[in-house]
Amino acid sequence: MSYYIRRIFTLLLTVLLVLILTFAVFRIIPGNPALAILGVEASQEQVDMLSEKLGTDRPIGVQLADWLRGAATLDLGTSLRFDEPVAGLIAARLPVTLTIALEAVALIVLVSIPLGILAARSRGRAADLIVSAGTQLGLAVPSFWMGFLLILLFGLTLRWVPVSTYTGWSESPLLALRSTLLPAVALAIPQIAIVVRYLRTTMLEQLSLEYVRTARSKGLGERAVLYGHVLRNALLPVVTVIGILFGELLAGSLVVEQVFTLPGFGSLLITAIGNRDYPLIQGLVLFIAASVVVINFLVDLSYRWLDPKVKLR
């Protein structure tokens, strides 16, 4: 029990620090944030108006308190450019990014598990070496460039998938999935490489353990040993790794969405940066970072829950 309390405490502390950090970044610049946004040609009047709007004319402590209070009530400020609540803008773009990320997770699970098992089973032989070389490449290729290549191959040359069109969920779920497929693939490839390598390692570890010999001595065939016994134990840490990779997927999505011109978090953030829309940048970055922290926390919890040694406590 005390473990969970400690973990929740750490979680809250980390979220707090993230909040403070996103707040602080915009205030450490020397001079007036409003001035930085408007540029040197702005009149004093304009600067004052913006300062008031941003709330940067008040003492730092008050600003921070406001920010924290707002975050707790899911009020992340108002976008300068769009004049709408940041939270609303995030919610509008969330489905796209989330779809890509979840599709990527599905791909990761579907592809890396068989590949990891294959590599472990054929340790040292041709299949293993090929997989190893493949994962090295997968790790080295920048995912957004992979996006280019996928567009070249599947979009333009083979014309299997439409490029640069996004169909919303409300219109057609199937088409929505299709339009996010290529970006999901581009995102998934480096993560697949990581997971395959890790699964291979955990499987080889398990295969060297005694209970495998016992299972064989009972008369179980290789498939039964592998899937009924070894995989269970090897998969557990891998599942948590996939959970942790979710954060990387979100981050990578920011760039890949630009390649495919999809209306997700990525384009929202880039636009905001271009417009120096500080409130929007702040709110969006906070949302993403906080989500990652929470997801990692849940993954950590689920690992403890799944491990039989801890389950019945």
């Binding site: 750490t10 502390l13 980390t14 620090l17 993230v18 950090l21 996103t22 970044v25 915009f26 450490i28 610049i29 930085a36 090295q136 490449l137 790790l139 080295a140 290729v141 920048p142 957004f144 460039w145 280019f148 290549l149 567009i151 070249l152 333009l156 954060g247 990387e248 979100l250 981050a251 990578g252 920011l254 760039v255 630009q258 390649v259 953030l269 880039i270 905001a272 940066i273 120096r276 940048i281 970055v285 993403i288 970072a289 906080a290 990652v292 922290v293």
Partner: protein, 267 residues
């Protein structure tokens, strides 16, 4: 045999790229920024082995010049990250208790920002430029170096030889720098090699988004951005910088794996 293969391949790739970079300081087939609109988007030929871009610039020359940026960003950001991370890690691991808790919580907060998000956040405050990119990426690396150094220091702090040297009256500075550091050097070097390849990827992404290295400074990421519009018409334009990024990252990854394996065997 497989282990030294990794190391040799890594060295080979990195060495070849470093050579390319050095050569580019003295010679490139054409002036990398020289535009010749009449010759835009030409396919690879004898006069332009990698073709020309949308401004008629020679892709090969630009890609060679790009190695300079890549290595500069990589080395500088790793230098910053490792220096600060070293300091943080030593204080956290050696001074212990309060300092450790505080620094580790701060590190955790930094680590909560996945990959490029932190760099984007930092870059959004200032005008994008080469130095901003280097600084942002450097900060990105501090947590991983800090962690590696901290755990190394924690491990070695209680080791026999440290106690022995203390018995001879060695001071803290001596213990940390002369005794402990050499023993954790290997993990630092491995982290450095890995961080280098991360730096290349992050810089490429930032420059692609227009938030990293600015023109006219050559950057592979920037070239990828420029090539996107002409994907169908001039695919070679996108292949060259992409392949080079891949090669550089692969080289440093293999190097890092190779070093780690080689040192594992010894230690």
């Amino acid at each position: 045999m497989k282990r030294s293969l990794l190391l040799s391949l890594g060295l080979l790739l990195v060495g070849a790229l470093a050579l390319l970079m050095i050569v580019s300081f003295f010679y490139t087939p054409y002036e990398p920024n020289a535009m010749k609109i009449a010759e835009r988007l030409q396919a690879p030929s004898l006069s332009h082995p990698l073709g020309t871009d949308n401004f008629g610039r020679d892709v090969l020359s630009r890609v060679m010049a790009g190695t300079q940026t890549a290595f500069l960003v990589g080395s500088a950001s790793v230098a910053i990250g490792s220096a600060v991370g070293l300091a943080v890690g030593i204080v956290a691991g050696y001074a212990g208790r309060w300092a450790d808790e505080l620094l580790m919580r701060a590190t955790d907060a930094l680590l909560a920002f996945p990959g490029i998000l932190l760099a984007l956040l930092l870059v959004s405050v200032f005008k994008p430029s080469l130095s901003q990119t280097i600084l942002a990426i450097g900060i990105l690396f501090v947590p991983s170096f800090a962690r590696v150094v901290r755990s190394g220091v924690l491990q070695q702090r209680e080791a026999e030889y440290v106690r022995a040297v203390k018995g001879f009256g060695a001071g803290h500075v001596n213990i940390v720098f002369v005794q402990i550091l050499p023993n954790i050097a290997s993990s630092i070097v491995t982290t450095a090699a890995l961080s280098f390849s991360t730096a290349i990827l992050v810089e490429a992404a930032l420059s692609y988004l227009g938030l990293g290295v600015q023109p006219p400074d050559p950057s592979w990421g920037r070239m990828l951005n420029e090539s996107q519009t002409y994907l169908a018409k001039a695919p070679w334009f996108t292949l060259a910088p992409g392949l080079l990024i891949t090669a550089t990252v692969l080289g440093f990854n293999l190097l890092s794996d190779g070093i780690r394996d080689a040192l594992d065997k010894r230690g």
